[in-house]
């Protein structure tokens, strides 16, 4: 029963959180400063997400492991203007290799 309450409750809340963003009246966001902020929010959230996904482990503790090796490789390839798919595949392969080699 507890599991069902959690599954249904989290699903309803999760959809509601997405829906709210689409039904907030446009005039609330008409201020140029708010419009500029809304356009910039994805950059902030996604940058933070990359950092958290790569450099934190259990309990939010900072960690540097094979994921960091993959991300650095991705950054170098992007800097060298590599193709999108090449960057993703290389990051995965290098992370997998670092893990398999037990480097971290």
């Amino acid at each position: 029963m507890k599991f069902w309450v959690a599954v249904i409750g989290a699903s309803v809340a999760g959809f509601a959180l997405k829906w709210i963003g689409y039904v907030i009246p446009e005039r609330w966001l008409a201020n140029p400063r708010i419009t500029a902020a809304t356009a910039m929010v994805p950059v902030a959230l996604l940058s933070a997400l990359v950092a958290v996904q790569t450099f934190t482990g259990a309990g939010g503790r900072l960690e540097v492991d094979a994921r960091a090796v993959g991300l650095v490789a991705a950054a170098l390839l992007l800097w060298r203007k590599a193709n999108f798919l090449v960057v993703i595949i290389a990051a995965a392969a290098i992370t997998a290799a670092a893990r398999a080699a037990g480097l971290f």
Binding site: F3, W4, A6, I8, G9, A10, S11, V12, A13, G14, F15, L17, K18, I20, G21, Y22, I24, L29, P32, R33, I34, A36, A37, T38, A39, V41, P42, V43, A44, L45, L46, S47, A48, L49, V50, A51, V52, Q53, T54, F55, G59, G60, R61, L62, A66, R67, G70, L71, A74, L78, F84, L85, V87, I88, A91, A92, I94, T95, A96, R99
Partner: protein, 248 residues
């Protein structure tokens, strides 16, 4: 030099032609969609080993449909936590979707059933691919195609993972977790040529990493919205200031 997609911050002055732009949006959407969809296997496997039924795991992937939130529900329940705690933790991680939705609502301009669909597909990946494109048409294509591809892949792989369990292997062994971060970085990359975006990204990384050991998961990422507002205030003031000076 080949121009990367989404180089221009202004959707109307894209350096790429429409066809090239759409092809690029499509390629990015499909690669991100496939890599993320495959990861559903680890969600399905973790859900059932944590005590959820196959149907419960599938409802989370079908209805909650937000990776971080889904792993949170399973993690809390698997550790013996209460339903309320599972819902709260999941919602903290899902709160960033509200902010993605605010942005995507401006780009997609959808009503009725399409708005329901757009809301449902509003997650990290679809927003990342959508906002990375240089024209509104490519932004819309990138968002919808990424969302639909992930929805299909994620749900199929959830089922595969929850039925077969860990026997299919851990996607981490293939480095799929790093592939997701690399994809986000690649999508952000062209936008990081402008100074305000660079400052914002650096501030966001510092805020998220420095608060992550102390705050519950989801909150460190959401906190970076403060930085977005600060940079937006700085940019709009810079843009408005010369006009005000002329007026005087």
């Amino acid at each position: 030099m080949i121009t990367l997609p989404g180089v221009s911050a202004d959707p109307d002055v894209s350096p790429l032609s429409g066809t090239v732009e759409r092809a690029s949006a499509k390629r990015q959407a499909l690669s991100v969609g496939l890599a993320t969809g495959l990861y559903g296997i680890s969600f399905g496997a973790l859900a059932t080993t944590s005590g959820l039924s196959i149907i419960q795991a599938q409802i989370l992937s079908l209805v909650l449909f937000s990776g971080g939130s889904q792993f949170a529900v399973v993690g809390v329940l698997g550790a013996g936590g209460s339903a309320a705690s599972a819902i709260a933790t999941s919602s903290l991680l899902g709160a960033r979707n509200t902010f993605y939705a605010l942005r995507m609502a401006q780009i997609l301009d959808v009503r009725g059933w399409r708005r329901l669909g757009a809301a449902h597909l509003t997650i990290d990946e679809s927003t990342a691919v959508g906002t990375a494109q240089g024209s509104v048409m490519a932004q819309r294509l990138g968002f919808w195609l990424t969302g639909v591809t992930i929805f299909a892949g994620w749900n199929l792989m959830t089922l595969a993972g929850s039925v077969a369990g860990n026997s299919l292997g851990d996607p981490k062994r293939w480095g799929l977790d790093a592939a997701a971060s690399a994809a986000f970085l690649a999508l952000l990359w062209p936008r990081l040529t402008a100074r305000p975006a660079q400052v914002l990204a650096a501030a966001a990384v510092v805020i998220a990493l420095s608060t992550s050991p102390f705050l519950t998961s989801g909150v460190p990422v959401i906190l970076t919205i403060i930085a977005a507002f600060a940079v937006a205030a700085w940019v709009t003031r810079r843009r408005v200031a010369p006009r005000e000076r002329r007026a005087r």
